[in-house]
Amino acid sequence: MLQCHQSSRKDAESAKSAEGERIFSLLLGIVNLPRSINLHSLLILCALCLCATQRVKHPSMSISAESVKICGRPSRISLINPYFCPALNFHHFILLLKKEFDIEFRQKTAINGILLFVLSTVFISYLAFQHIIEPSLWNALFWIILLFGAIITVSKSFLNEQKGRMLYNYFLYNPRTVILSKIVYNSILLTVVSFVTLFLFSVFIGSPVQDLGVFSLVLFLASFGFSSILTLMAGISIKAGGSFTLTAILSFPLTVPLLLVAIKVSKYAIDGLAFSVCSQYLLVLLLLNIIVGALSYLLFPYLWSD
């Protein structure tokens, strides 16, 4: 539909013959659209998501009002104000981010576990392949290892939250602050992991990457995108009983669009193509990131207020 709006607007400017029919077929969405219009449609989707993040009312209001109604005496409860919701607060965001890092530095389970995972898988591929010259094979192996690593890393992110503390946090922080801090923390973690993976790959298997700048840009963007999808999915699977399999099942298909574009650009970076070739796909990757980030940001409060 989005593409149709865009293209029908464009058509109104240019085409004159058979207007009605043409617009109708545009509405059907089977017309051949130029590639640029497609980027526009992605942009519009992106803008819609961003608008929604600004417009959508916070759900906790209705939920807590409901729970208070069950209690029966809404006016007596002064401590738990049904309309109380902490605002989105930058200070809280920093605090939560710091908390995540503190826990990580104290326990060191997540980062050590993931590094061991990456090391062992890279070593196994080294034993199997010795040295990979074929770029597409290298690329596929790299992204598969990175994807599995990302899922293992992020699926842990809600395990630390015990039930009582969730309730406590619910009264302290806005859920959107929580999801933002988790996404940022996970994306920093994933960026570190992806660069370590790249390093290990170049040590053991060899690195055919010619344009390292574009490749690291792809790694940054992909880490952010993965972390925003996987954090929400980890939250969902924790709420649904907390099995690792469920996280994997839910998030594999959803990460594929990002992964496809990332694989394509990283192939370009490996081949050392000019930046002008990659730039369009980098833009697409950025827009996809914004879309999935906005969706997680938008949907997490409904999960949180359960």
Binding site: N32, G241, P253
Partner: protein
């Protein structure tokens, strides 16, 4: 009768689509030949699937706002019907591809996107079956449904048009409407679109009513 006229219309239009779709003359094209008749089945079935999925995501959003279990039932049953339609769409597409491209399935962005969409919605049903509590199940699956729908749009509407694709209407290929859809084909194609959409709506409605009734019998409450 006043309420059910659209069901009769659906049956009549589907019958018309099948009879006229196979019997009326079509423009003769190289390679395509008679397979062009697939336009009456494959494309409208996908439109119906998109319609059903849109209804599904709409009622999921409604559920997140209002927490009424009826909306959840609508969301899941329309998604079920949408999956059935997408399987039909894949099958008709495969049949068409066998006679024009020469294979049942090829590595193509559109085709892969459709396969992944199928996986996404299967994951949606698995998620639903893994949660016991009724309200919790509805809420969490509604969240997943919204995410899944946006990803589906990215997958089957946006990405295939950006990369090389064999599929008509994608990746620089002309859509059928640009030169093949002459007036005789239009006479069947547009009724076919309405027919399959109405059919989808009808199937979904029956499924929703069965579900609502079973809820009523189980819990003795109006949903």
């Amino acid at each position: 009768m006043a309420k059910n006229w659209w069901k009769i219309l659906a049956v009549l239009l589907v019958l018309y689509t099948i009879v006229a779709g196979f019997l009326l003359p079509v423009p003769a094209r190289v390679i395509l030949n008679e397979t062009i008749r697939n336009l009456y089945f494959h494309v409208p079935i996908w439109f119906a699937m998109m319609l059903l999925m849109s209804v599904s995501v709409y009622s999921s959003i409604r559920y997140l706002g209002k927490s009424r279990i009826k909306n959840d039932i609508i969301a899941v049953q329309t998604a079920h019907t949408g999956i059935i339609f997408s399987i039909l769409g894949i099958l008709t597409g495969m049949l068409w591809a066998r006679y024009t491209w020469g294979t049942w399935w090829t590595t193509d962005t559109k085709l892969n996107g459709v396969a992944i969409t199928f996986l996404i919605y299967t994951a949606y049903f698995i998620l639903r079956s893994s949660i016991e509590d009724e309200q919790k199940k509805a809420r969490i699956s509604a969240i997943y449904n919204v995410f899944a729908y946006v990803m589906m749009i990215v997958f089957i509407m946006v990405l295939p048009r950006m990369q090389a694709s064999l599929h008509p209407g994608n990746g620089g290929n002309p859509g059928f409407n640009s030169y093949d859809l002459d007036s005789t084909m239009r006479m069947v194609f547009y009724p076919a679109v309405i027919a399959w959409m109405l059919m989808g709506a009808w199937i979904a409605q029956v499924k929703i009513r069965i579900e609502v009734l079973s809820k009523k019998i189980l819990y003795d409450e109006t949903v």
